[in-house]
Symmetry: D2
Subunit: 362 residues, 4 copies
């Protein structure tokens, strides 16, 4: 086996064909092509990881021994996202004036037409409602037929977000014998809020205005919890597209975060963290991408009234998938207020080898 053949380099290295004259002024088109091709290679790898993760989720129930490999898919995507970020700094070595030298040959070609990136978004589970408006035309309008069909098929198929939701819903720990997580959690929140209120009320030296202001903050805090306590408000938020996860899945995610140290929850916690990392990684990349695009082409306004940079900025703000998980911290309660799990639940979360008395193996 010869390295060059194994990597099919004859094919790979024949795919860079600048349209402008490669001598002199248009030197930089090669960089433009290569950096975009490098991105497409990484998009292919990300899709490969997402597909593999979804195949694992599909083999439900997921075996505990598969959890390590499942988490590894997302850790790898995070490592790739760091490369993606760094590549933006390579593009920024292309100055706006040099870009103008060959910008004309690109015509209407645009990164907006990257099928693979659209597939990444849809496989992650980005709902159409979180895509910024592209005017009258759907976001797929700039793709050719074959690509449009592929992107739409991915939009219809079960996404990573769907799989994660199903997996969370199957968590056996929300109710276990007499234990009901949601009841316990709500009670703990009530106690916590009551304490906060009492602290304000017993605080000496506050004038009425200050007291009212502090109490208003306690109320606002209480109200934030109401958004997940109240069935109708929760479902309304889902209708609005503000929440994607079912309430049961959300509760499971909260439980995993709160009791993450229990042996059986350690890998699930890492999985949820991995999903947040990946979601944040794409957002970070989108944000830096806007900065790069702004720097490269400025803000020349199109006839549509918005500029490319503005559209991308909206994308960076809105096109997130795992916002329910990102928002979990809003609903955490300090360990000091956290209701302890009943012994039976603790036992169920442990390894066989761990004795009931001695709390450990090694």
């Amino acid at each position: 086996m010869y390295y060059h053949d194994y990597l099919d380099l004859d094919r790979l290295l024949a795919a860079q064909n600048p349209l402008s004259d490669v001598e002199g002024r248009t030197h930089d088109e090669m960089l433009f092509i290569i950096v975009h091709q490098a991105y497409e290679l990484w998009f292919k790898q990300i899709i490969f990881e997402l597909d593999a993760a979804m195949r694992t989720f599909d083999r439900q129930p997921i075996k505990e021994r598969e959890m390590g490999a499942l988490v590894a898919h997302f850790d790898r995507i995070v490592a790739i996202q760091r490369v993606m970020l760094e590549q933006l700094e390579v593009i920024e070595t292309l100055t706006p004036l040099d870009f103008l030298d060959f910008r004309g040959v690109l015509g209407t070609a645009s990164g907006f037409q990257s099928v693979q990136f659209r597939l990444v978004e849809n496989k992650m589970g980005l709902p159409r409602s979180r895509r910024p408006s592209t005017g009258d035309a759907p976001y797929t309008a700039w793709l050719n037929d074959e690509h449009r069909r592929a992107v739409e098929a991915a939009e219809q198929a079960k996404s990573l977000a769907d799989h994660v939701e199903s997996w969370l819903e199957r968590t056996p720990f929300l109710e276990m014998g007499e234990y009901d997580f949601w009841v316990e959690y709500q009670a703990a929140v009530d106690v916590m809020i009551a304490k906060e209120r009492q602290t304000v009320e017993s605080e000496p030296g506050l004038d009425t205005d200050e007291r009212d202001r502090h109490l208003a903050r306690v109320d606002a805090n209480r109200d934030a919890f109401e958004a997940i306590f109240n069935d109708e408000r929760y479902e309304a938020a889902r209708e609005e597209g503000d929440r994607l996860l079912s309430r049961r899945a959300f509760q499971a995610a909260l439980l995993i975060n709160l009791y993450r140290d229990e042996p059986i929850l350690q890998l699930p916690f890492r999985l949820l963290t991995g999903l947040v990392n990946v979601d944040e990684g794409f957002t970070a990349w989108r944000q830096r991408h806007v900065l790069m695009v702004t720097r490269m082409i400025g803000h020349r306004t199109g006839t549509g009234g918005t500029t490319g940079a503005e559209y991308l900025e909206a994308t960076a703000r809105r096109s997130r998938v795992f916002t329910d998980l990102v928002e979990i911290p809003t609903f955490l309660i300090p360990r000091s207020e956290l209701p302890p799990l009943p012994d039976a639940v603790v036992e169920a979360m442990r390894f066989r080898l761990e004795g009931p008395a001695a709390d450990s193996v090694r």
Copy 2:
């Protein structure tokens, strides 16, 4: 000289005093302190570089032999900003649940109270109008008297942006003998736009709708240029705070970008690029900072109606200083359309050693 004494480590390493119990659960407060102290060290260095740069600008005219060192200040700040970005990933090893364990001891202390970061903003030249609203209170309301005075003094003093504007205005190349850059530039833009219009009009196979759409885009493009051609529109934009640089300074920046290869413009071009890099670097850091804060504390709404994360997000979008320079690409014209400089101007931009015939030294 002993390393430990030279660095005053007895003092430096006595400054980490977690308020929560350092054992067990509150282990992470030490990280919280140290990472913020590391930021403050870097802010001090950035202020030191900004001050040094401003002292150089103040010794006007700036000697050409000082230009290298001037550019170096901004390259160094960019290197520091990379460290600042990387430090966010260290904070993200602190999980929201662990943060809750000691969040209470922080009380109302907040990064919003970092005097040095406020000084960085004001020394850079951030106008008050570009700070997102902090309600009825000024942005300095959360500082103590001494710090507030220091921050306000920096706001009043001549800023880096002011210095850059003065330096640009002194550029001798805008008019030189019979040469008038602005006249030449406007003419070249007119030719370019006329060509674009003609290309659309002579394009075969366009129906009326398409033609109108394309022509509208040409008009929009023309209109963008009008914003800098037209005196009143330019000044109106300055009044609005949309532009900070005087028109003459803006023209000089445009000239430097367009003719950056002329020997005497090479370092000025690097200086302008350095300023854009620094501005972008702070923006990139603010954006990632928002992601980190969101991840750490979620979106719990304060009584003011906005959350910390939302305020920071507005900051990341709006709190830029060198937007005039960032926007330069909007107004570049391709080299093929660029009017050549008259011989006399080219000569004036060269080294003494360069002969008029042979275009080079080595």
Copy 3:
């Protein structure tokens, strides 16, 4: 609570006192001080994490629910090491000529005198035999009495490497009922080597020379395994300082790597990976540090005959602690050759909730 006071910034920001005149040419001494202070802050944090990890190891047996937090210490150190690497690029903005302007004031002060870095090394478990020679004087010769005593005390105390060794030795899975990992592993290696030999011998079209060369490679491979199969060779390597871990601990590390997917081994595998990451991270930093130093001061030879850069280079090559773990890949065998664990062992490694038939919870 006021941010400035919480972080003790009056103290922290009073600790930068350049000895050269801060105006003009010696501008860069401030950077030199601040970047070294930033390193010392991070060293303090690393020591804090190492100490916390060792306290956990000390509470043997380690509870399974502590494993997540234990792994997190090393993940955090890895994040800090990325900052440390990035900081080298900040130092590199200081040019050699500018460094010369204040190098004199440093006298004999040297990073070699960083007590905290010496403590990091000793707490990690760096044996004295892996420190490059510093001539007749011990490596502590450049420290003052108080610091020397602290560094020597850390060298005598139980190190992270010692704790890891004890923890690995307590692994209950090396022998469990009739199962003996080492017997199974050796048998599998023998089968693998025999197959390799047979492949060579049955390969058609090899001439005698080629066959001999291939067989010599199989023998060399076999011999590599002998280094861990043979008691005396293993102990000789320990005597030589080539190996630090006891044989039993090494076997446990190998077991964890080979069967890392079993639920109870997933966190231990992450722990071992974290240790390798940290060890590699320090080595990567040492290597880049050599490049930076070389670039700053060249290779001016001291009277001792070696240059600072050469000493540091030796350090980068030799001063590693977890080389036994880094070397594990040498002894891995492909999953296809891996003997399956007996059912009883598999059961012992699972969660209580996992049924013997259904292999999973969710």
Copy 4:
């Protein structure tokens, strides 16, 4: 123009063909292919930049207005090297055990066979004498005929190092009228060394031993300079391959570093810095690459007696090109000792616009 076609994605994305079954265990081969392909894309871009830089050097004399673009080639390579470093962390998400699952299919294919990387080395100007021994076979022995010829042709052709040497030798400032840089420089060094000696001799309270030790250090320092003062020693070092640059080129590099602030030397200084950056960047990448390889395959010894990791480590230590430039700091003298340039030389280094009295334009 359609993005997908412009980037030839049908071709590019058809080039990933794992040999092992893509399901299950051998999942990771895709990553292995893609990361190596990404490297090859970047090698192509680096070659493209090196070739363009060499074409500029070839158009001697280089016009001053080309210097900015020339420097930019190396700044871009540095940005690419950062991506290359980051990609190593992506490979490290592939665990040794997973690598074993498909390592067999690679057979003898090896990164050692990367033609493009060999071309990069030869175009940079890596002399064969700085390649670590590959036993009896030349380093090209593992390439096919076509590739071997290409690599050998690049070895014969004028390299970047050759071009840089010619360019440095053409510097007009080494002798200019009555000014002779080398005479002035040597005199300044003599004064500096004499001062050092006198400082030691007049230091009160040194005993004889200490004085001798200090004086020996002064002598060693003096001797280091002798290596460049003495014609025969310099040429002997060139014969040995310890130096690559001609003496005249080396002197020019020293001059540029010492008087880098003079207007006409600012871009040349940046060019030399860029070359050092690129050289250091490859070394940093080679070093991290060794760490990654060690971690992936351990130290299994081949029949040749050396392991892949050891060979790569030797490469990282020895395979540098611009060592003469890296070593410049050894020979810098502090600005306080630096002989001022004669007025005529200073004038020759300035811009036409700068008056002889007023030292500046702006």
